[in-house]
Amino acid sequence: LQDIRNTVGNIPMEWYQDFPHIGYNLDGKKIYKPIRNKDELDMFLEKMENPDYWRTVQDKMTGADIKLTDEQVDLVHRLQRGQFGDVHFDPYEPAVDFFTHEVMIHPVTNRPADKRSFIPSLIEKEKVSKLVHAIKMGWIKPRKPKDDTPTYYDLWAHEDPNSILGRHKMHIPAPKMKLPGHEESYNPPPEYLLSEEEKLAWEQQEPAERKLNFLPQQYRCLRAVPAYSRFIHERFERCLDLYLCPRQRKMRVNVDPEDLIPKLPKPRDLQPFPTTQALVYRGHTSLVRCLSVSPSGQWLVSGSDDCTVRFWEVCTARCMKTLPVGGVVKSVAWNPNPTICLVAICVEQSVLLVNPCLGDKLLYGATDQLLESYVPPEEERVQPVQWVTATLEEQSKGLRLLIQHSKAVKQVTWHGKGDYFASVVADNSNMQVLIHQTSKRWSQNPFRKSKGLVQCVLFHPIRPYFFVATQRYVRVYNLLKQELTKKLMTNCKWVSSMAIHPGGDNIICGSYDSKLAWFDLDLSTRPYQLLRHHKKALRSVAFHKHYPLFASGSDDGTVIVCHGMVYNDLLQNPLLVPVKVLKGHVMTLDLGVLDVLFHPTQPWVFSSGADGTVRLYT
């Protein structure tokens, strides 16, 4: 067998798969692959027939088949078993110490010691000098002595009062944790346990909203109580509260609620005032908007949305007369002069002057004569309204004069003497307020400019003042000097009505935002008192002529009568005491009382309501 050396080296032999040669020999000649003509069948036959087939291997480098010798097979077997390749190698030979662990007296070598072991080391010197330099320069400091003072000592041994600074006085101590109640017990009384619905409600609430931050639970014995899972949480929240929660001193309200109620004079001591409902005047079919009573106090007139005006006898509740006027009646006003029997009625665009022909025949006859005695002046003056004398047919019904305005009229009110009256027109121009004189049948427009939507107007009972209430202010004009004297701020959103004390120094204003403002004209332009007695919008307010009473009617169906004493002494403030809440009107269309009015002589109060009735309280 010749020695064929392949010189390709340690490479994957697949690279030569496609070549006829398999590598190169030492001389650089190609080594050719042995000619193989064996197919599968031959291989099989050889496997079957050749007894040495199992020990034949192919040399990859040369491609020749080699039959392993017995020694080689034995080597392979031993390697497979993990034994040493050499048969004669004994791994378990006894160990022989080459050097003993005992120190011998003689050195192993007889070499003398180096010189360097006798002289100081340069490197060390360098290091030391560096350290010395660092110490000199103060870079390295000597180790601080451990302070051996005890960790705890009597900190408050000498408390000096100077150490209490302003800070400590200002300090707001954190409130202590809330102490637990019965419901937190591990074995609470059964009533503190939550029922199923309460438990459900508790679970559905936000954790911040819950009244209890845990579910009360009952355990039969102490052994069964588990750990509380939110313990650390609660401590942590407490910590956060302590340093993040803003603190504020809160005055604890520790008042007896009874003390808060002001001490007022007993209503019993302030009598007379109306206390009970005495009469109900029925007849109107729609809401009764306005009321007026004759100066003698015998007759009452009411205007309603059913387009009629009714005249009643006060004492008997009998309807004396019904006057159809063909329009919604916005306002009625009886002439306050007792010698004249005349009623002004607002119907749509006109003001009607009606002689009701009630009472003394001489009286109403005189009124007619007074009206007829009018002589038209020579030169026709330009008037803002038209004065029309009633036709005969109308005269038979009582109608005397018609004052036709350009727009719808809201309110009419008489001067105390009974000659002048003012009307308010629902308009935005300067023509909102007109003053008429009955005897001369002459009208004038007192204002040049409109100052807002006029709600109602009023004559001063004694002096020549004229009050105009717009939405938020009440303006007081002097009619003689023709100037603005005062402007009262009502502090209300929308004034609905106004009434003046017979003394003339006090005014009350009702407003739609359920407030009643009492003004003292001498005092200031702001309300002396704002009364919020009603729950809904105020519709009307009224003063009594003689008694210190005033009343207010509101949409909540009540009339509140108050005692409003005004003293002659300027230093004494008026005394305002509510004395009675009168109920009786039925709420219809969300409206309750529409108008209130006092009897001129008696402490009685009339009220008209949206239920179509007029009621008298005595």
Binding site: Y152, D154, P216, R230
Partner: protein, 538 residues
């Protein structure tokens, strides 16, 4: 933040929020300018800076693996003390006592933390030490007043030098540590609290003439167990354990003199009437009696009851307590000791009972302490359905709901004996009484609530009817007057009045609800009883 916590700076609510916040009403926190300036002058700020620099240097040294530098740096680790802050925040000792609640609670919580993660082991050990010292002080001064087992933990209230200190300890279980808690904040608080509590402890021990750090009175120890009183290694751990066993009394600096027991001289204060004096004296006597509640009683704790709270409570009231030797060190006597009077057991039944001692559930101890007298033991035998455990912190005002158990307890405290409650018929009678009382109360409350006289019964005779009419009229008139007067109130006062009235009404409503619930529960229980009785008969 850390500085704010340590110095106790907190935000303030300004008087005019809008003015301060430049017109906006957005929620913001406001600190006083003065406070912030005050913080700037704090010397500890420099210490913090030093520490920061130290950490930076150390990190650098580690990064370069210069181990000698690391060692040197570690040797010179800057440390700071909070003594001056404690002194500054609490110029007097009483101030410190007032704020002790949170400190003690926090220490107890931290002392139950596991020794791994979350916070430093040293902190935990220090907390444990301080807490145990505090407990020992409370025992020595016998100042515990109230205990309450709640579902959250155990509340204790002690009166330390006249100041009530309330703290809560969790039940002895492993905590499941929540993830949304910032432990650094808690650790900062604890840092301050441990300093505070240490100084307070020192002062308290001094006030009782006790050694600080506390030492166990060796003499007493030897007397109690001469067999075991041998060489006792004072290595810190077993020392702390021994201390925490709470069983031995502490060594005093000065031997206890008997001056305390001499009658206190009476100094009549001017302007105080004899009645007040008497009342005060009586109170004092009651307090003394309360302090000696368990005097002369010997308790043995079974291994299933929580040892520490019970031992603490019993020792606070003068009782002697022991437990199984294998449970914890410090056991003074064995189960078989014939002188044991009470054995605390928390299992449904006890196999071998020794004659001459009561076997009781642990609630008895706590209820007795709260009731200030040794309650009848019958309700607390093992396996018996326990009576409810009531909170001692609730003081009922007029109109509040009082559970019937509390009423019973109050009666017992007054000295009325409600009789043998084991007799069934009496019990039912009592229940009925309770019910009738409740009904009465309910009715009364309703009357109050409606403030009217609709509940007045209508009589038949004519004469009386008129009389009532008059009364009614008068009442009506009065109520109307009141209504009118309320109408005249100023806006602010009216608001206040309405709020107060609303609160009152709500309270009454809640009380009524509770009472109704109780009644329903009682009736169901009664019915069940009847049913079971019938079943037994049949």
């Amino acid at each position: 933040r850390r500085l704010c916590i340590l110095k106790g700076i907190y935000p303030h609510e300004p008087k005019h929020k809008k003015k301060v916040n430049k017109g906006s009403t957005a929620p913001r926190t406001f600190y006083l300018l003065k406070d912030i300036k005050f913080l700037l002058h704090e010397p500890i700020v420099n210490k913090f800076r030093e520490y920061k620099v130290f950490v930076r240097k150390l990190r650098k040294a580690y990064g370069k693996s210069e181990w000698s530098t690391v060692d040197r740096l570690k040797d010179n680790k800057p440390s700071y003390k909070l003594d001056h802050i404690v002194k500054e925040r609490y110029p007097t000792f009483v101030d410190a006592l007032r704020d002790l609640d949170d400190a003690v609670s926090m220490c107890f919580l931290f002392s139950t933390f596991p020794r791994t993660g979350k916070c430093h082991v040293q902190t935990i050990q220090l907390c444990r030490r301080l807490a145990v010292e505090f407990l020992n002080y409370v025992i020595a001064s016998r100042s515990l007043r109230k205990v309450f087992l709640s579902i959250k933990g155990i509340y204790y209230q002690a009166e330390v030098l006249g100041q009530p200190v309330t703290w809560i300890t969790p039940y002895a279980f492993a905590h499941d540590h929540p993830t949304d808690v910032d432990y650094r904040v808690m650790a900062t608080f604890t840092e301050f609290y441990t300093t505070l509590l240490g100084f307070v402890n020192f002062r308290l021990y001094q006030s009782l003439n006790l050694l600080y750090p506390p030492k166990i009175d060796v003499q007493v120890d030897v007397e109690v167990k001469p067999a075991e009183g041998k060489d006792y290694a004072m290595d810190s751990e077993s020392y702390l354990e021994k201390l925490s066993a709470l069983s031995a009394s502490l060594a005093r600096v000065v031997a206890p003199t008997h001056e305390d027991e001499a009658e206190m001289d009476e100094f009549p204060v001017e302007g105080e009437t004899a009645e007040q004096m008497d009342a005060r004296k009586k109170e004092q006597e009651a307090l003394e009696k309360h302090k000696k509640l368990f005097e002369g009683l010997r308790f043995f704790l079974n291994r299933e009851v929580p040892r520490e709270p019970l031992a603490f409570v019993i020792r606070c009231f003068g009782g002697q307590v022991s437990w199984d030797k294998s449970l914890c060190i410090g056991a003074t006597y064995d189960v078989s000791d014939p002188s044991i009077t009470h054995q605390i057991v928390d299992r449904p039944c006890v196999e071998k009972q020794v004659v001459g001692r009561y076997y009781l559930q642990p609630q008895w101890v706590f209820d007795s302490v709260n009731a200030k007298l040794c309650l009848p033991v019958a309700d607390y035998f093992p396996g018996v359905l326990l009576p409810p455990h009531l909170s001692p912190f609730v003081t009922e005002q007029e109109g509040d709901y009082i559970p019937p158990e509390k009423l019973k307890l109050l009666a017992m405290q007054r000295g009325e004996n409600p009789g043998d409650t084991r007799l069934r018929d009496e019990e039912s009678e009592e229940e009925e009484e309770d019910e009738s009382e409740e009904e009465m109360k309910l009715k009364k409350m309703e009357e109050q609530k409606t403030q009217s006289n609709k509940a007045l019964p209508v009589k038949v005779t004519a004469g009386k009817l008129r009389l009532e009419d008059k009364q009614r009229l008068e009442q009506e008139q009065q109520s109307e007057e009141k209504r009118l007067a309320i109408m005249m109130m100023k806006k602010r006062e009216k608001y206040l009045y309405k709020k107060i009235m609303f609160g009152k009404k709500r309270k009454i409503r809640e009380a009524n609800k509770l009472a109704a619930k109780r009644k329903a529960h009682d009736t169901t229980v009664k019915e069940e009883k009847k049913k079971s009785k019938k079943a037994r008969r049949a």
